[in-house]
Structure formats: C-alpha cells, structure tokens
C-alpha cells in the first residue's frame, strides 16, 4: 500500500512539474509584449516566434522572419532600422539579427550575448548599441562585428538613447544606475549614484540636456547629462516602468498604480494628474483603469497611452480625456465575419501606441489579433492583423 502512496506522490509531482513548465519560459508562451515600430508604410511587429512586416495601408503581411516557427526563438523588442537599411532585432535566444527589410531574409546575426535581448537596440551613425539581460551593452558595426561591450551590475532592459550634442549614449540599467558612455570606445564618461530602484524605461532627453528617468522606487528623476548629478526627484504613486515622453517642457508618463502625470520638466511640479479609477467599467472612461506600463505616444492633438486591462486613452494637453477605447469592445464589423466580433477577454495592452500617418497602431498581448489600426475616432481602419498559419 505504501508504494501506492509513493505512486500518488510521484504522479502529483509530475503534474506539478508540468505546471512549472508554464512559467518556465517556453518560447511559445508570451513572456513579454509585442515590440512595434514603423518605417515608412511598413509596420514591423516582433511578437512570440516571428518578426512580421505588415503593410500599414491594409494590414496585410509582407513577410515574416523566420519563415518557420522555432520553439527556441522568440522576439519582443521593437525592431529598429539602420541608416543603411538593415532591420535590427534582438531575440530571446540571445541572438541579435540583421534582416533585409525588403525580403525578410537574414543578413547576419550576432551570437555572443549570454542572455536575452529585452530592450531594443539604439542605432545611429556610430553603430548598433544593443542592451542585453546578460548585463552588457554590445556595440557593433553595421556588419555585425563587435566593437566593444560595456558591463553593468544588472540586466539592461531599456533602449539606450544618444546625445545629439556629443558622442555619448545614455544607458539606464536595472542595477539602479544611469551611465553615460563614449560611443566610440565604450569608455564610461560618468555614472550616477544609486538612484534607488531599477530602470527599464528609456530616459527622455530634454532640450537643455537634462535626462529624465523613472524608477521602481516610485520616483521620477531629472539628471544632468553633464555629470550625472540628480537635479530633482519626485515621488510617484507606483513603479515607473516606461520612460517619460517630453514635449514643450512638460513630461508625460504613467506608473503601475495607474496614475498618469503631466509634470513640469524644470522642477518636477505636477501640472495635472489623472488618478486611477480601476472600478470604472463604463463605456466612456476618463481616468486610467489599470497599470500604465509603457511610454505614452505624443501627437499634435492628444497624448495616447494604454492600460494593462486593455484600454487606450487619448488625453488633451490640458489633461482632459477625449478618446477612450476598450480593446475588448472594438467594433470589428469591418472584418465582415459576423462571428469575428469580440477580442478575447484575456487580451491586455502593455505596448505603447504607435502613430502611422493618420492611424494609431495597437499591438495587444494574449489576443488572437496581433495588430489593430484605429482612426482618430477609435474605429478599426482594417480588419485586425491575425497571422495566417503556415
């Protein structure tokens, strides 16, 4: 009988181990949200096992990379285009790929990283600067040759930014430090003091040379780009995940509590703030209804941001919400299929909205649809992109 009990224990253990596999990082289970970028009339969407090139005009797929899904390869970083026309994207397989944007074929790959690419690389005339979760920033030339690498004490999930006035790049790391690095040789120019929390959002760069970055220590900070000194710091209601966006001397950003801020970049004073209202399930919501993860999109008219529960808000620069879409309630009659009306209830929004001429592109997570194109009234312009099974 006792051996029977052992059998029961073992069988239960097997079941439990199967459960662990769900959280163990299988490539097919999304472990991040889609990375989306626009170049000309093409949207490049990195999600799960492929990078898709999608025609912005009609939402049709041009190509996908790789052609055949491979369980060992997955992509979540927004692809970036080099000045010589290479599409660069990092994978969870620890490989950085250069893809021909016309054909979707691989040009070259860089395989020296020892962990995932979570943040997008920065590309400029000086080269390709790819942050990784192996605690190194890799600088490559346009043929994929390693120029230098810069180590930090923690994973690097944030896309670095370049300083237009010098040959510097700024890197926010999860090790709580912001670094200024010489782009030509990878030498450290300066390093901040411990900023109190991890940073995973790209810093914003003000016209006066001030850097702005949010941390997991419920703070937003202004940092001098000359020497890395903290100019001011303000407390937020929750972790600041995405970097702030800046326009006309005002910072715009959200936090994981669901609060959205407009803040004076010169001193950190709040200009206006939208407090979260997570209980609001009405068809027209004016306050954020869930955590705000990514950087908002600033257009001429409105500030667009998404909340994790699947909502898209458009707020005027005076702080008044005039655009609201619940992705689960989107009118999909444009698809022509009476059965194809609702987005899955599990669908969430983490990725920033992206502007493509007059369309707002939205890439949800945990939905069948991978890309929505909305007009300024919130109506789909084309039937949402669902990749065909190949």
């Amino acid at each position: 009988m006792k051996s029977k009990h052992f059998s029961i224990l073992f069988i239960l253990l097997i079941s439990s181990l199967s459960l662990s596999a769900c959280a163990g990082g299988a490539a097919t289970a999304a472990s991040s949200w889609p990375g989306l970028s626009i170049v000309g009339e093409t949207a490049y969407l990195a999600y799960n096992q492929h990078v898709y090139a999608i025609n912005v005009a009609d939402g049709k797929e041009k190509w996908r990379f790789p052609l055949e899904a491979d369980n060992k390869i997955s992509f979540y970083t927004a692809p970036v285009m080099t000045s010589d026309g290479q599409l660069i994207v990092g994978g969870y397989d620890h490989v950085l790929y250069s893809i021909d944007p016309q054909t979707g074929k691989e040009n070259w790959s860089f395989k020296e990283a020892k962990n995932r690419y979570v943040g997008s690389p920065l590309v400029n005339d000086a080269g390709i600067f790819a942050p990784t979760a192996d605690d190194h920033l890799y600088a490559l030339d346009f043929q994929g040759k390693l120029l230098w690498s810069f180590p930090t004490q923690g994973a690097q999930w944030a896309q670095p930014i370049a300083d237009p006035t010098c040959e510097c790049i700024y890197l926010a790391s999860m090790d709580h430090y912001l670094y200024a690095i010489n782009a030509s040789d990878g030498a450290q120019v300066w390093k901040t003091d411990d900023l109190g929390g991890s940073m995973v959002g790209t810093p914003a760069y003000g016209s006066d040379g001030t850097l702005y970055v949010g941390t997991f220590n419920n703070e937003i900070l202004a940092i001098s780009s000359e020497n890395g000194k903290v100019l001011w710091r303000k407390t937020t209601d929750g972790w600041v995940w995405g970097g702030p966006a800046i326009k006309d001397g005002t910072l715009y950003f959200g936090d994981l509590s669901g609060a959205f801020y407009a803040m004076d970049a010169s001193n950190g004073e709040i200009v206006w703030k939208l407090n979260p209202d997570t209980g609001d399930t009405s068809a027209q919501r004016s306050n954020p209804d869930g955590p705000i993860v990514q950087t908002p999109l600033l257009t001429d008219e409105l500030i667009y941001f998404t909340t994790r529960v699947g909502s898209i808000f458009g707020v005027s620069y005076a702080g008044k919400t005039s655009f609201f879409v619940d992705i689960h309630e989107l009118d999909k009659s444009i698809c022509g299929d009476p059965k194809n009306t609702k987005v899955r209830p599990s669908a969430k929004l983490f990725s920033s909205p992206v502007l493509a001429s007059d369309k707002i592109l939205i890439a949800p997570t945990e939905a069948d649809e991978m890309l929505f194109a909305l007009d300024t009234t919130g109506k789909p312009v084309w039937c949402p992109f669902i990749p065909e099974k190949k």
Partner: protein
C-alpha cells in the same frame, strides 16, 4: 486575485524575498534556507505520513490480512468490505498516509512556483511579481535579484564549462539525489506485493524526469530540487527510517 495566490503563492514569494534580503541578497542561499524552512514547517505532516504508512505496512503483513486476501480473492466486493472492517478493527485509516501527502502537494507546487516568480526574468514575470509583493518588503532595493550563486546564473539552465564543454552538474546532482531519495525511502518489498513493481518503475524513471527538468529549466529550480531531496533524506535519516540496504547492489 485568486485564492491560490492569496493563500499559498504570495506568502511564499514574500517569505523567499524576505529571506533573500536578510541573507546578504544571495538568492541561492535563500532558496536553500527557504526549502529547509518549509520542510520544517511541514514536518508534522511528514511524520504523520510515515507513521500511517508504517501502520498500514504492518497490518498488511498480519496473518488476518493475508487470510482475507486468500479467502476472498475471487470476490472483490467482499474483499473490500473485509479490508475496511480490518482497518477499523486495527485503528488504521486507509487514507492516513496519503492525506498528509495530498496536503503537502500544494506546498510543493507553491515552493517552486515561488522560486520561478521571484526570479522574474522576463517583463511579464516582473510585472506579475510587482503585483504580489507585500508593502513591508523593500522591493525597489531588492530588484533585480542577484541571480549569481557559485558558478551559476539561477535564472538560466546551469552548465559548468570545463575545457570548453558545458557540463550540467546540477542536473546530474538532481538525478543522483532523486534516485537516492527514492531508494532510501522505499520500504523493503516482498515479491508480488501490491504496487511494488510500480514503485520500482517510478524509482527508475523519476530521477531522469527530474534530471531532464533540471537540465532544461532555470538552475534556481534545479537548486530547489537538490535542496529538497537532501533535506527529505536528512529528515528521514533523523527519524531513523532510511532503508540503507536498498542502496546495496543487487537490491531492487
């Protein structure tokens, strides 16, 4: 929030993070100590399980049990009735040893889900973790967790590089300790005893299954497997219940 998160996973994740914060921010040590603490807390269940198992085994060796097996071998319904009567008579609960095991089951799942959740190596995992940290844990200071332990990155499958070859040392340790644990804890069986063959088969396959999981998944999980196996063996040794003779060659 669901009950699983509220009652099992969140307390475990936060306990793990708290242990990590007081153990010099060493996640490897935190996993080992956390496993030990959980083993100690669940000790009464382990003891109860062993006691009931032993009582059951003794009852099955008794003359009365053997007699009814023979007598009613062609009448399963009657056999079941007589067995139940014997259970009652000898004061043995048929579920006495499997109930504590079942109670431990959610704890075992919770343990390694907590390890995976705390490691939070992808954005969605980290966002998820941010939702489950208690206010008294200084998450901003602790994140990112220091994944380094000895030669391992606990968030990655482990390989010790020797002369250019990656050797999965931890996976091998998992196979060895799982095999030892199952052999040492399996009571001596008599040929033909009910379930004995099944237990032997499990003893053979389980180490390889566990080893494969340790080979494929984060080494933090593999470290938990090894720690858990070692503590279980030590716990049984302290209670004098190990079947050392099972390790001898020729014994099945």
């Amino acid at each position: 929030m669901n009950f699983w998160d509220l009652l099992i996973l969140n307390p475990m994740v936060n306990a793990l993070l708290w242990i990590y914060s007081v153990l010099w921010q060493n996640f490897g040590l935190a996993i080992i100590v956390f496993t030990l603490v959980v083993r100690l807390i669940t000790y009464p269940l382990t003891a109860q399980q062993m006691k009931s198992g032993q009582a059951m085994q003794e009852m099955q060796k008794s003359k009365k049990w053997q007699e009814i097996q023979k007598k009613y071998k062609d009448n399963k319904e009657k056999l079941a009735q007589e067995q139940m009567a014997l259970y009652k008579e000898m004061g043995v609960s048929p579920f006495g040893s499997c109930l504590p095991t079942l109670i431990q089951f959610p704890i075992i799942i919770g343990l390694y889900q907590a390890v995976i959740r705390a490691l939070a190596v992808t954005p969605i995992q980290l966002l998820d973790l941010s939702n489950h940290i208690y206010p008294f844990i200084n998450a901003a200071k602790l994140i990112p967790l220091n994944n380094r332990f000895l030669w391992m990155d606990l968030s990655q499958p482990e390989r010790l590089v020797v002369l250019g070859f990656g050797i999965p040392v931890l996976a091998v340790l998992v196979v060895i300790t799982t095999y030892m644990q199952s052999k040492l804890m399996t009571p001596p069986t008599q040929p033909g005893e009910q379930g004995a063959q099944m237990a032997q088969a499990m003893n053979l396959y389980m180490p390889f299954l566990m080893g494969w999981l340790a080979y494929s998944f984060s080494s933090g999980l593999a470290l938990y497997f090894v720690a858990s196996n070692v503590f279980t063996v030590l716990q049984y040794a302290a209670m004098g219940k190990l079947q050392w003779s099972n390790l001898l060659p020729g014994r099945k």
